[in-house]
Amino acid sequence: MAFLKFNNPAVVVAAACLLCACQRQHRDIRPAPASLAIYGGAAPEDALRPGGPVNPQPVVNNPYNASAYDISEGARLFQWYNCAGCHANGGGGIGPPLIKQHWIYGGEPANLFDTIVKGRPNGMPTWGGRIPAYQIWEIVAYVRSLNGEQPRSATAARQDTIQQNPQTIVNRTNGQTK
């Protein structure tokens, strides 16, 4: 069993490869029905007040938080469902920009999910029941990645569309994402 000694470079390389495999990200290409059924009431509007919510709201985590595959799927769906038609590639046009810090209806994952599901006055259509909920969560993950609210390790180093100015968009995750 001499070849299994730790001074054998092949063993060290093999061990390193094995350790890397622990970090391999899971691709949820077949979402379970449970994650499909998160509808409505995630973020009630009556909690929204100027200056922030009065009562602390329970934090709803995006099931696809920090998942590189789902963020890239969100980017694809953002084009497929023509979100870009109004919001451009995050810069805004007919609709408001999505690269910003102050959101009318809240910028938390649950608020974004709710905005997409229910629609909002002055043009945002209702997408609930029109596109599957897991895809809405993927779009939420992508929109938050535009604002640097997804870890660097999960987002594309270079966007296919506009490049954000790294001086204005800093990574705001501080190691914590939701």
Partner: protein, 344 residues
Amino acid sequence: MMRLLPRFTCLALSLLLSACITNKQSAIDPAGAQADRISTLWWSFFWLLGTIFIIVMIMTVLTLTRRRRGFEQEPLAQRHKASDETEHRLRRTITACTITSIVILFVLIFASVGTGRSNAEFHTAPNQLTIQVTGTQWWWQIQYMNSDATRNLATANEIHIPVGRPVHIVGVSNDVIHSFWVPNLNGKRDLIPSRVTDEWIEADHPGAFRGQCAEFCGLQHAHMAIWVIAEPEDRFQAWFRNQLQPAVAPSTPDLQQGQQVFLNHECIFCHQIRGTTAGGQSAPDLTHFGSRRGIAANTLPNTKGNLAGWILDPQSIKPGNHMATVEVSSTDLHPLIDYLESLK
């Protein structure tokens, strides 16, 4: 010898069987001028290189088995010292072989480049058909181009062409590099994002020719097939006229319910059925879905059972594909399938 007999029988039988398979995806079963050239090139390579291989093998065996006369009697010191005459003969032989090899290689290069050039020649036949093929993860978007915009036709995963008319394939891609390859008709042509590539095909007899993406393009690259169906001119025209029509209106209550299921589900955000409000552009056009041979880029034959499986759980058939998992209730499923299959 008796021990090997069953193996030889098996081999001979399988060779015979493979010869029986006709009309399959094969570059040496040409169905058009372009594929003819490729096939001729292939067989000339095969016979020329096969002959050379056999000559080299015979020479090697001869060299290994022939015993040099008087070899054993030569003293060790003289073994490597060739006579002037031997040296001369050796030099002549090597020079001749080198020159022959260079000549043969040049002949092969010219034959190969010549075939490529004649296949890539830009045709301008007045009656030629122009079809834009867009490679998409993981299906083929087909658009028949026409100067008259009302005769532009969108379909997917199946091309019908008239026999004896040159067809200009305009290749583009939506996402990554794909490659259009129908071996019975022509060689591979890459479809590259933000570029346009051209290829010509021309079938000389009717038939159905299978093609396949030939450039690795992601998870479901292996399940990205296309059929090219060559038909006589009149049948092609009939097919084309039918395809230009909007989808048939549902005639029975069952089909009407099926249409409502389609229109009230997520389907319409990606799929188009001309003649209804479904106008999605990011997935295959389903206006004449029932007339097509296969589903899911010809992964499965187009049957009701396969369609049910595909709608309910597309990710189990083609893991990673872009068809969304949609919840369809059991009472809605059958009308939906009946409706889709009625779209002839």
